[in-house]
């Protein structure tokens, strides 16, 4: 397996997909010569309007569709390779889960497809159900679930094999803002744990929040690609955020800036984004109605790498190659902290 840290986890070169009709005549050119690479630990976003080729690209990555031409490698192998699939997790755009299985049975079924032992399946199931907050619905049929619940169980099945590559097609569609936030945090955490995440979305805010790099697709072609920060940065302009100043101090600062740049700086109060405001309000309301403090959103233990020591003790071919973060990695901090530390790590200071 040609895989080491320097090689990209996903590599697509001049990928094309043409859908044909019954008579094999080309009908639609869904993906038209795209090339991109995703490195380990990166969150890569595919953006684009409906019908731009996002889902087709993702399905090719998973071996559900075959490229008409071009080269596609996932973990150094063809996506149709059975071994590759054991290291990939996939959340489809819609719930394709058997409606007559309960949450538990669903996770157990997909766990068995990965040939996990009964004990391991049990353990991961418990942790995943806790992580997605569906313990109360463990014996309910998936077919009776709301769209959000179905999304969560879909996400759980995508993670049952502790995948190295997670492919998420519209991960936040159908979720309420809280759910969205949770999923986004989960993605970030996964990335921090060294997993590679490729997601598609047409919700721009989601992409902006979690993706390291994005590609914008239109008409089957990549129209723009690069780190989110770079793409969005307005060159030649800076913004300073200060605590609330006294009028005098403010006047002095403005004066100084005027002298330095010779033009009038814009002054406004920073606004929280609506999502953050909504989450705060809901959090406050929940505190009021619940006696016990809310559970912290927590990543499933096995995804955290809590069993790394175990794995090191009994190395297997795939696990030894993995560069897991040390087991002493700090537990995920509160959401704002997480974002902050994320920004600090990747922020302009470090550049």
């Amino acid at each position: 397996m040609a895989e080491n840290a320097s090689n990209p986890v996903i590599a697509a070169a001049d990928l094309k997909k043409v859908f044909r009709d019954f008579w094999r005549r080309p009908k639609v050119r869904a993906v038209d010569g795209i090339s991109f690479e995703v490195s380990r630990g990166e969150v890569f976003g595919l953006l684009g309007p409906n019908g731009s080729g996002k889902s087709t690209t993702i399905k090719m990555l998973l071996g559900l569709l075959f490229p008409t031409s071009g080269r596609l490698r996932v973990l150094g192998e063809s996506p149709r390779h059975v071994k590759t699939r054991s290291r990939v997790g996939y959340l489809p755009e819609h719930s394709y889960i058997y409606p007559h299985l309960t949450s538990e049975e669903t996770l157990d079924f997909y766990g068995r497809l990965f040939d996990l032992s009964r004990r391991e399946r049990r353990r991961r199931m418990e942790q995943l159900l806790e992580m997605i907050g569906l313990q109360h619905a463990r014996h309910r049929m998936v077919g009776e679930f709301s769209k959000g619940m179905a999304r969560r169980i879909g996400l759980a099945q995508a993670l049952i094999n502790d995948p190295d590559v997670v492919v998420l097609d519209e991960p936040t569609s159908g979720l309420d803002p809280i759910g969205c936030r949770q999923v986004k945090d989960l993605i970030l955490t996964l990335a921090r744990r060294g997993k590679t995440v490729l997601m598609s979305s047409h919700l721009l805010a989601d992409v902006e929040d979690v993706c390291d790099r994005i590609a914008i697709l239109y008409n089957g072609k990549i129209q723009a690609m690069g780190p989110v920060r770079e793409l969005l940065e307005e060159k030649g302009r800076s913004r300073i955020t200060l605590p609330e100043l006294s009028p005098e101090a403010m006047a002095r600062v403005l004066e100084l800036l005027r002298k330095e740049f010779g033009e009038e700086p814009e002054l406004e109060h920073p606004r929280r984004d609506l999502e953050q405001f909504f989450l705060d309000v809901v959090e406050k309301a929940r505190r009021g109605t619940q006696a016990s403090p809310p559970k912290k959103e927590k990543l499933a233990g096995y995804l955290e790498g809590e069993d790394l020591l175990q794995k090191l003790a009994a190395p297997s071919t795939t696990e030894t190659k993995r560069e897991e973060p040390p087991p002493s990695a700090p537990p995920p901090a509160a959401r704002t902290d997480a974002r902050l530390s994320h920004l600090l790590q990747n922020g302009p200071d470090n550049e």
Partner: protein
């Protein structure tokens, strides 16, 4: 194996939830409970039991076939349509395991239904034996001729083929074979002629058959089954079985109509040393020749083992057939979309069921004979049609099998050898080929294509 079993379990659950399957299961229960009271035998307990066995099992077998084909067709194709398959094929499961998992799931369902069916049929049979009034003779007939497994023994070969060959050579040497007659035709005519001669019994003459069975007859009566035709509606004849002049020789004088199939119960004492000689004497007063059809000579039916063992073997064969149908449906469902798969497998099932007609077509040279004219030489179209039907016959024939339900209802032995052969040909070879084909296709099928 874990993967295969888990796929099987989910397939089973999906099938049980299908409305068609549920409807079929209800129909099955309805038939198994309603049919016994609705059927009409020939007025005897024996006839009733025979109809009961072949009808309940026949109808139930038909329903189970529909269930197997239906669930097979939808198991893969509907999951591809609803994209449930996306989540399975993106897991590390080889296509062949998906196929086998689905197949096993359908087989589990079929096995449960088949067990229920056979148990109900057996229960119905026992119930009928207890609750239906019948004469002593009738009950004895039932026990001796239906609720047994009797081996069919054909008469000893009389070397007719060899005699025909010799005669052919003689005729050829004499120059009696007309020119332009193909040797195969001449041989066939001579052999047919000899066979007919050997089986014609003119007035005052007799015909002898020797049956070798090699085993002891265990004090069970033997049954001779025969049919004949004659130029008179009824014929007087004398049957004897066993050593002539012996105390144990069985003798029976009959006046019987031409054309029927008859059975003669011969006491076991007549049979000795693993063989039995049977003679028919034509003692009709007026001149009338009796002909035993050469293609359908008398057979001797001999106790082999119990009805229950036969029942078990028929169960096995029924299960094998359902397994084949499930495999056909499943393969069709892997190859095509749902409606096409259903259509395709319905055709396959139809083909398997009209094997006799296909064989007849394959034996036809001229398909469009000219009426009131000389025989036509086969043209191109005839040859093409002949080739087509011959190929079809070659394809379908290995999958044909004898009517075991009918045999069981007639108290005939269905051997383990047949069960083994069915298993080998149908399950191991045919289903194996289908599995290989299906996984080959499934691996190369773009499961994620938009519907």
């Amino acid at each position: 194996m874990n993967r295969v079993l888990s796929i099987a379990a989910v397939t089973l659950r999906t099938a049980v939830r299908s409305r068609i399957v549920v409807f079929m299961m209800l129909l099955l229960v309805f038939i198994l409970t309603g049919l016994p009271s609705a059927i009409r035998g020939d007025g005897t307990l024996t006839g009733y039991v025979q109809v009961l066995l072949s009808y309940t099992l026949g109808f139930a077998g038909f329903i189970l076939s529909v269930v197997a084909v239906w669930t097979g067709c939808t198991a893969v194709s509907s999951e591809i349509r609803t994209h449930q398959m996306d989540l399975v094929v993106t897991k590390p499961v080889p296509a062949v395991q998906i196929w086998f998992g689905k197949w096993l799931g359908i087989l589990a369902l079929s096995l449960a239904l088949l067990l229920f069916t056979f148990a109900a049929a057996y229960g119905g049979l026992r119930w009928a034996m207890i609750h239906r009034s019948a004469s002593e003779v009738d009950i004895q007939k039932l026990r001796e001729q239906v609720l047994v497994a009797r081996e069919k023994i054909a008469p000893r070969d009389e070397g007719l083929e060899e005699r025909a060959e010799n005669l052919y050579r003689l005729r050829q040497a004499e120059g009696a074979v007309p020119e332009g007659v193909a040797p195969s035709t001449a041989r066939r005519i001579i052999a047919d002629d000899l066979r007919l001669q050997a089986n014609s019994v003119p007035p005052g003459y007799g015909r002898r058959w020797i049956f070798d069975f090699g085993s002891s007859v265990k004090d069970r009566p033997l049954f001779l089954r025969y049919t004949f035709s004659a130029s008179r509606p009824e014929i007087e004849g004398l049957w004897t079985a066993g050593e002539s002049g012996s105390r144990d020789q069985a003798v029976r004088r009959v006046t019987e109509a031409s054309g029927g199939v008859r059975t003669w119960r011969i006491p076991s004492a007549a049979a000795r040393d693993g063989s039995l000689t049977i003679e028919f004497g034509n003692i009709h007063e007026e001149p009338a020749t009796v002909i035993f059809p050469p293609e359908n000579p008398p057979v001797l039916l001999l106790y082999h083992d119990s009805f229950e063992m036969n029942f078990l073997r028929v169960f096995c064969i029924a299960f094998i057939r359902i397994a084949v149908l499930a495999a056909i449906g499943l393969t069709a469902g892997t190859l095509f979309s749902e409606p096409v798969a259903l259509f395709f497998s319905a055709w396959m099932v139809l083909l398997l069921n009209i094997g006799r007609y296909i064989r007849a077509m394959a034996a036809t040279d001229v398909f469009f004979p000219v009426h009131d004219g000389p025989a036509r030489i086969p043209g191109l179209l005839d040859r093409l049609l002949h080739l087509f039907f011959a190929a079809l016959d070659g394809l379908v024939r290995p999958l044909q099998s004898p009517d075991v339900l009918g045999a069981m209802a007639a108290g005939e032995w269905v051997s383990w050898g047949l069960v083994a052969a069915e298993f080998l040909v149908k399950v191991l070879i045919f289903c194996g080929l289908l599995a290989a084909l299906s996984s080959f296709v499934l691996k190369r099928r773009e499961v994620g294509l938009p519907a």
